[in-house]
């Protein structure tokens, strides 16, 4: 029978590396998928997974045993993703993300022609456009939108995770949705 997270965490806190390994095996996929959503890069996501578990290991003593380990880990992963996104944005200051007009122009170009929206809906074209639109989001827009849309977090929760005021979080999500609309509305 699989041990519960609570029991496994207790063993890991006592220095049992096999217990920590079990936690890694249980949660690393979820952390990776979250990180890909938030960073948009598999390689960055692998780095986030590493950093998340290292931080978790270091901070196990601070983990409240009554809390949910997965939720706690998720929060660390979100923070690691945000750190990495910020670092990457800083590195890539010369690389501008497409603005709304560019996204719209790309979408318009995609609709010129003869392919029906229904067919496009089923095609990789839509996925490519979604990906392009996601790549066009600022780090905060991407993080807030990914947490709201894909992870189902409430705006209040996202505000706490990102350290933003509620209105700032809302506006990040609004801008992200606006970019999605401009990129995708002509196709759907």
């Amino acid at each position: 029978m699989t041990q519960s997270d609570t029991a496994t965490v207790a063993l890991a806190r006592g220095g049992d590396s096999e217990a920590f390994r079990a936690l890694v095996e249980r949660h690393s996929r979820a952390v990776y998928r979250l990180a890909v959503r938030m960073t948009g890069s598999p390689q960055d996501a692998e780095d986030v997974v590493q950093e998340t578990f290292l931080k978790a290991y270091k901070q196990l003593g601070r983990f409240e045993s009554r809390a949910n380990f997965g939720t706690w880990l998720h929060r660390i992963a979100v923070n690691c993703s945000i750190d990495l996104i910020r670092a990457r944005a800083h590195r890539e200051t010369g690389h501008d993300t497409p603005d709304l007009e560019e996204l719209g122009a790309a979408a318009d170009a995609g609709t010129r022609g003869h392919v029906s929206p229904e067919r496009l809906m089923l095609s990789a074209e839509v996925q490519a456009r979604v990906q392009a639109a996601m790549d066009g989001l600022s780090p905060m827009e991407r993080a807030a939108f990914a947490l709201r849309h894909f992870e189902g977090h409430s705006i209040d929760e996202i505000s706490r995770s990102l350290g933003l005021k509620t209105n700032a979080t809302k506006h990040s999500i609004f801008r992200a949705v606006r970019k999605m609309r401009i990129a995708l509305e002509p196709l759907v």
Partner: protein, 252 residues
């Protein structure tokens, strides 16, 4: 009396169920009564449904094993040692490695320092910065030499099936390979980053014992990587020698 329609932001909040009770009831009632807003809301629903078509990231089989193989060497003493044992995001080591990659990026990949004759940079050549950069370059070359020796031993050990000591050496090399790979990527040196990424994956497999599952494929990977590392390593050594000759010529 004029009708107040729902704006785009209202529709987003309604979609995600983020309106408070009273506002939500008002929005629902308005959508029931207003065809224009209903049409705009339907468009929003279609857009956000299209976003859902983005597939979940694929996760390789054995992903958990790979994560653990990378983590385990970094965990010893990590609880109380802060950044000191793990290279990821470590400010001090990152700065050091960034300097190294900057050297590699500018001197090795572009090849402009030692490959091309140019104006006499006597002052710069003599500077402490230059000396430090040369030492850092030597360090990378040494790392590649150690990696190369491991690959040679792996290639021969695989025939006898004994890789116990190679596994320990692979574990030792893993963290530094990862550091070089990350910083090479940060510096935009994709050729070096790709090589180190390939090296890192081989080391992870060796550490985790995954190479035994498909020895033929593993041998091919090692042979291919060995060739690439030899080329890069040899090029680095040649450039170090050329730099030495240039310095000797300038000082005579």
């Amino acid at each position: 009396m004029s009708v107040i329609h729902l704006n785009d932001d209202d529709l987003v909040l309604h979609y995600y169920g983020e309106m408070d009770g009273e506002t939500e009831a008002g929005a629902s009632a308005h959508l029931s009564a207003c065809a224009a807003c209903r049409e705009r809301y339907a468009k929003l629903q279609r857009v956000l449904a299209a976003v859902e078509t983005l597939p979940e990231a694929a996760v390789d089989e054995g992903f958990e094993r790979m994560v653990w193989a990378r983590l385990e060497p970094a965990l010893d003493g990590r609880k109380n040692s802060g950044w000191s044992r793990w290279p990821t995001f470590s400010p001090v080591r990152l700065a050091w490695a960034a300097a190294l990659v900057a050297v590699v990026a500018s001197a090795f990949v572009a090849g402009r320092v030692w490959d091309r004759p140019g104006p006499e940079p006597a002052a710069a050549e003599a500077s402490a910065k230059d000396l430090r950069e040369r030492l850092l370059l030597v360090d990378l070359a040494d790392h590649l030499d150690r990696s190369q020796m491991l690959l040679v031993d792996l290639a021969s050990a695989r025939t006898s099936g004994e890789i116990g000591s190679e596994r320990a050496r692979a574990q030792d090399l893993l963290a530094s390979t990862r550091l070089y790979r990350q910083t090479a990527a940060s510096a935009g040196d994709t050729a070096l980053a790709d090589l180190l990424d390939e090296m890192e994956r081989v080391l992870v497999d060796v550490t985790a014992g995954a190479a035994a599952a498909d020895p033929d494929a593993s041998r091919q990977r090692v042979d291919s990587l060995l060739f690439k590392v030899r080329v890069v390593s040899s090029t680095l050594r040649e450039r170090q020698k050329a730099a030495f000759r240039m310095r000797a010529g300038q000082s005579s």
